[in-house]
């Protein structure tokens, strides 16, 4: 029916014209498929490299021995990732941290060694600055060395006292993660992918929506179209389905741009995410299904804005409230989490985001999915009706 109707004629023409718009191609296809993976890859690559450099770097650590503690100092000297420097006073050492001569300082108290030898706790003080990343690293490294020192000292004390090894371990806890590598990967994906899809579906159609309605008014082509035999409903439908198609393409490209590089070969990305990324076909189909009402909803909302605006510039000024309407519920979904109460399935946009989280996190709930899908279609229908009503009003179409 649609293929023979005038709305299909309008749709085909609008889609053809839209796909010739370089701004749309760049924003909807090129950017998510090439630029986003490239940016993500670059970020992960340099973050990984930096992390590696951090691990390999030798850090200068200061020691203030108010009384000699050779056992501990020897352990510090033996650590290949630390270079020790001795200071006479605590104040001198603090100045050295501030001037970045050393990154952290260990102050050994006067009674430290004697306490240690008497099976007491040796008094130590660590000085670092939180305002410096390298100082934070030095603090962690120093903590690890002391932890190792404590561990070996404890073992010796237990041995000397002829106590069983379990003396120092009142409980024996073994942790078993039953999640498969794939499901952990999907969970990680679920933390950001729904948010990204919502943004793509919502914002992918902006340029098209503004061009198809406010742009037509601005270029004076709207009058020509309105005087054709196509009814206003035909015109709205044709334009709406064009925006909807572009929004869907934007979502698909966003998914492909993120999942593609993770799933097909970029190992350093997999390492950064932590696990193997894989989504099964059913999940993909369920996500595609749930993104349909979202794209319809946002496309209709954009058409309402574009119909109301006199020109594209005016339409741009309404974009901030639109972004808030879409982004706020999408951001709220990160607070609610995938296991949430049923009423959230009625909250527009957020329900889509949460449903996607559930799908990716192996928490698929058919009832939640059905309510979310149904309510989203209802909201999309309501906004579609508003868009159509706007298009019927001559005081809006011919606003000057």
């Amino acid at each position: 029916m649609f293929s023979r109707s005038l709305s299909y004629v309008v749709f085909r023409k609008e889609l053809r014209e839209t796909l010739r718009d370089k701004r749309v191609l760049l924003g909807v296809i090129v950017s998510p498929l090439l630029v986003t993976p490239l940016i993500l890859g670059t970020i992960f690559f340099f973050a990984g490299k930096k992390q590696m450099q951090k691990g390999e770097a030798i850090l200068d650590i200061g020691i203030v021995e108010q009384a000699a503690f050779p056992e501990l100092v020897q352990q510090l000297d033996d650590n290949a990732t630390i270079k020790t420097k001795h200071f006479d006073t605590r104040e001198e050492a603090i100045t050295a941290v501030e001037k970045r001569i050393v990154r952290a300082v260990l102050v050994v108290s006067e009674t430290a060694r004697s306490d240690f030898q008497n099976d007491q706790s040796a008094g130590l003080e660590m000085i670092f600055t939180f305002a410096n990343e390298t100082s934070q690293s030095a603090k962690s490294r120093l903590q690890n060395v002391i932890k190792e020192f404590d561990k070996s000292a404890l073992a010796k004390r237990i041995q000397t006292m002829a106590l069983p090894e379990s003396f120092a371990k009142p409980t024996s806890l073994s942790i078993n993660n039953i999640a498969t590598s794939e499901s952990t990967g999907s969970f990680v994906l679920g933390l950001f992918l729904p948010y990204l899809i919502v943004i793509s579906a919502a914002f992918g159609g902006i340029q098209t929506a503004f061009d198809l309605c406010a742009g037509e008014k601005e270029r004076s082509t709207m009058e020509t179209l309105l005087v054709s035999p196509a009814s206003r409903s035909d015109i709205v439908q044709g334009k709406l389905f064009t925006i909807f198609t572009i929004s869907l393409i934007a979502s698909l490209c966003a998914i492909t741009g993120i999942v593609g590089p993770l799933a097909f070969g970029l190992d350093f990305l997999k390492d950064s995410v932590g696990n193997q990324i894989s989504i099964n076909l059913t999940s993909v189909l369920a996500m595609l299904l749930i993104v349909v009402p979202l794209a319809l909803f946002t496309s209709s909302l954009l058409l309402v804005i574009s119909s109301f605006a006199r020109n594209q510039k005016e339409a741009q000024t309404y974009i901030l409230p639109f972004i808030s309407i879409i982004l706020l519920p999408a951001m709220l979904s990160t607070i609610f989490g995938a296991e949430t109460q049923l009423y959230t399935a009625f909250i527009p946009v957020m329900n889509i985001s949460l449903t996607m989280k559930q799908i990716l996190g192996d928490l698929f709930d058919p009832l939640y999915f059905a309510i979310s899908l149904g309510s989203s279609f209802l909201y999309a229908y309501i906004v579609m009706r508003i868009a159509t009503a706007f298009f019927q009003r001559e005081n809006i179409l011919f606003r000057t």
């Binding site: 005038l6 023409k13 053809r16 014209e17 270029r219 009058e223 020509t224 005087v227 009814s231």
Partner: protein, 249 residues
Amino acid sequence: MIIAENLTKTFRDRKRGLVRAVNNLSLTCHPGQIFGLLGANGAGKTTTLRMLGTLLEPTHGNATIAGYDIRKNPQEVRRSIGFLSGSTALYGRLTAREMIQYFGQLNNLRGTDLSTRVDELIERLKIGEFENGRCDKLSTGQKQRVSIARSIVHRPPVMIFDEPTSGLDVMTSQTIMAFIEQCRIDNLTVVFSTHIMSEVERLCDRVAIVHHGVIAAEGSVDELRQLTGEAVMENAFLKIVHEMKDPHV
């Protein structure tokens, strides 16, 4: 044929309150006749033509176009008219051929009927050399020829021209004027709005002088000259307009 009876259009303006853009305007235009609406900017010409073109709904009154009621059969009315205005533009990212085809499809032309008609118009209006060029790359004259083709692709019996030469150079204006004359030869019903006296003198069989939304005088160019005792149409127009009391005052 166009028959308009007591067409009235009011709208609410924030500053001016209720504005009567067109007030009880009636006109009759026959096939093979060019009917001119002559008036200054803001006189109500465009609003009248937009009502005839079913773009705006009249507040009162009615009209029939080619026998179709503009209120009851707006879609049939739109099928029966070709609408050309000086301000209407083309779709920049479509080619000239695609533009004509699109409006043919909107008028339910399909298959060979469509392609034959498009080919015919491309040949008749000498669009061939730029038929595959994108509309945003065409010159003003070329764009105007495509606009003409777009407006008549469905062979409408009625043509509505809203200041079709506005903003065009003399050469391009001549193309439009010649086209309007051809419409008369082809026995189409033509209604034409303008504020350019020379166009009225050259084209119009009957003229209605519109001022403040009402018809101040109607007749042939000669009749209006005789009525005012002026030899020049411009003076006749000014005399009629000045003698008319502002209905809004």
